[in-house]
Symmetry: C2
């Protein structure tokens, strides 16, 4: 074999190797969660499990439609979260848990990774979709975070759909509260439906333009008092997105997530330490939060389209889809 | 000279070099701020300047007394901030600015670097010293962040001193609001007293046990609406402390500080990138915030006792003291 032939062989070998090792490029991606915690196979009937799978699939489909058509991650995240807010199954929007006083006070936030724009609402009571209120704060106010009646007023002035308090009444969540109040414990451990006290919904997305967005929405924790604000509306805790690092949405025992600035810390580890997304998430959720006693999980995505769903609880309602992989939903550890 | 003589010479040279380069060890340290912004020598009479110097010196003295006696950084930070909250000169507590509706809604937070414990209140209206309410949330509730009437109720239940709204009335802040309302602008640029719309107070301390603590308290921004929450009560934005990194309290245009997770980012750069505290602060405040258009500054301290006061505005009311250096106060750039 002459030199030319040898070179040809080497080139062909290289091409074959690179073909074998390369996976299809991910051009867009969407990951969602519907809360983490004591989600146990033994405590959920097949019907209940099926209902969650279907609801998660609907949320994924809403976001996927946007991304597949080349739409912005901001729209995909908003659409996916809206579907879960409108479902009574999740502790956000319609299915929000009750406060100590028997009210529903909702929190949400959203962040765009290209310019670090962000918006959040805390303790709203009349907005049908808190994620839309958070987005309106970002896009149509000089502020990042609005709270209480003022936030409701702002949302109403912006023409967002409002509802009366009975919209948020679900028998299941009401029973959760009564159970806690009768038990005399501070907060519900696990509701009779087997899902976790700190359920929350969220979505993170990568769009065709390479932009990352994260959003989170919650009813907080059953029996919460004194205008308690959890991690969901706190930028850097429950929600964070920066194009040069990652987008993260969290769910769990919010107090620990605030103290650990969980969403920002995962992205900071990627940005500053050069850790891959999975390693950074495992370090914060699987090591640091566990050491403090903070239960919960996160979803994350980066510009390479890596999708991470990390939790230290029994389970997490979750789903993912991208340009190279069909939609998948799951809730248990395995 | 024999080998023994040579070794002796080398040892002596090393000792001399290390003596020359070592500064006295800092065993405790305290840094405070009273707001950053358009603090201009030309717009402040000597009397006004003197009043600020005296108020800052009083706050430093209160914290210094604790630290010098071997007390905890938590007490030093609380005491120093209380002094500034009780002064009508600063936009926190007594001297808080007015909201669009002519009310005073106060925010505060505190964080302890040893166990990452934290507490915060947002939008309280009847607590005399919001920093004490933030501390009570940390020490006596299962939560990290409380808001609105609920937070007021919690503080009252904890026996904290409450006041009627007129306590927070100062003619100067009221005029600020009228000026903004008549001018029709969204927020006050600079008050007639030449100080900045986003004034805030804060303190960071290192105690003899090596613990770091950060605290921040504010009235927010003149003419704020819709229950706006700034960076001061947001852990990771306006306040952050971790013993293995640093303690930071921020003051400035809060929306940018939230989006940049300023306090956490400075400590994350120290922790993950190994930057020294001054470099990390300069990068975030002097580069990243400036690039976004976010005015303000920060104070920071680490376990080595390094004290940093970094701002990108005309001035920042500030002061520092440690075990090796007498108290100093300043307000202008030079």
């Amino acid at each position: 074999m002459n030199l030319r032939g040898l070179l040809l062989c080497v080139c062909i070998a290289f091409l074959l190797m690179s073909c074998q090792s390369s996976e299809p490029e991910v051009r867009w991606a969407l990951v969602i969660h519907g809360g983490a915690g004591g989600i146990d196979r033994d405590r959920m009937t097949p019907e209940v499990q099926n209902a969650y799978h279907q609801a998660l699939a609907s949320a994924l489909a809403a976001g996927e439609e946007v991304l597949r058509a080349g739409g912005p991650a901001l729209d995909a995240v908003t659409e996916a979260i809206q579907v879960m807010e409108d479902s009574p199954l999740f502790n956000a929007g319609r299915g929000a848990v009750f406060t100590h006083e028997g009210r529903n006070e909702l929190d949400a936030s959203i962040m765009v990774g290209s310019g670090l724009d962000a918006g959040a609402v805390a303790g709203v009571t009349t907005v049908k979709n808190p994620i839309l209120a958070a987005r309106a704060v970002m896009e149509r106010s000089p502020h990042v975070m609005l709270s209480g009646q003022g936030a409701d007023q702002f949302a109403s002035e912006q023409g967002l759909e409002t509802v009366t308090p009975d919209y948020f009444y679900t028998e299941r969540r009401w029973k959760d509260l009564q159970q806690v109040l009768q038990g005399g414990s501070e907060v519900a451990e696990i509701s009779e439906n087997g899902d976790w006290k700190f359920g929350t919904v969220g979505a993170v997305a990568l769009d065709l333009d390479g932009n990352l967005v994260a959003g989170t929405s919650t009813g907080g924790m059953t029996n919460k008092r004194w205008g308690r604000i959890g991690d969901s509306p706190v930028i850097g805790a429950g929600t964070y997105a920066a194009n040069d690092a990652c987008a993260v949405s969290a769910t769990g025992h919010g107090e620990y997530f605030i103290r650990r600035t969980v969403a920002r810390d995962i992205c900071a580890r990627v940005e500053f330490l050069g850790e891959d997304l999975k390693t950074a998430a495992a370090q914060v959720v699987g090591e640091q939060l566990v050491a403090m006693g903070g239960s919960g999980g996160i979803i994350a995505v980066n510009r390479a389209g890596d999708m991470v769903m990390e939790f230290n609880s029994k389970g997490m309602f979750r789903g993912s889809v991208n340009s190279a992989q069909a939609a998948q939903t799951a809730m248990f550890k395995d």
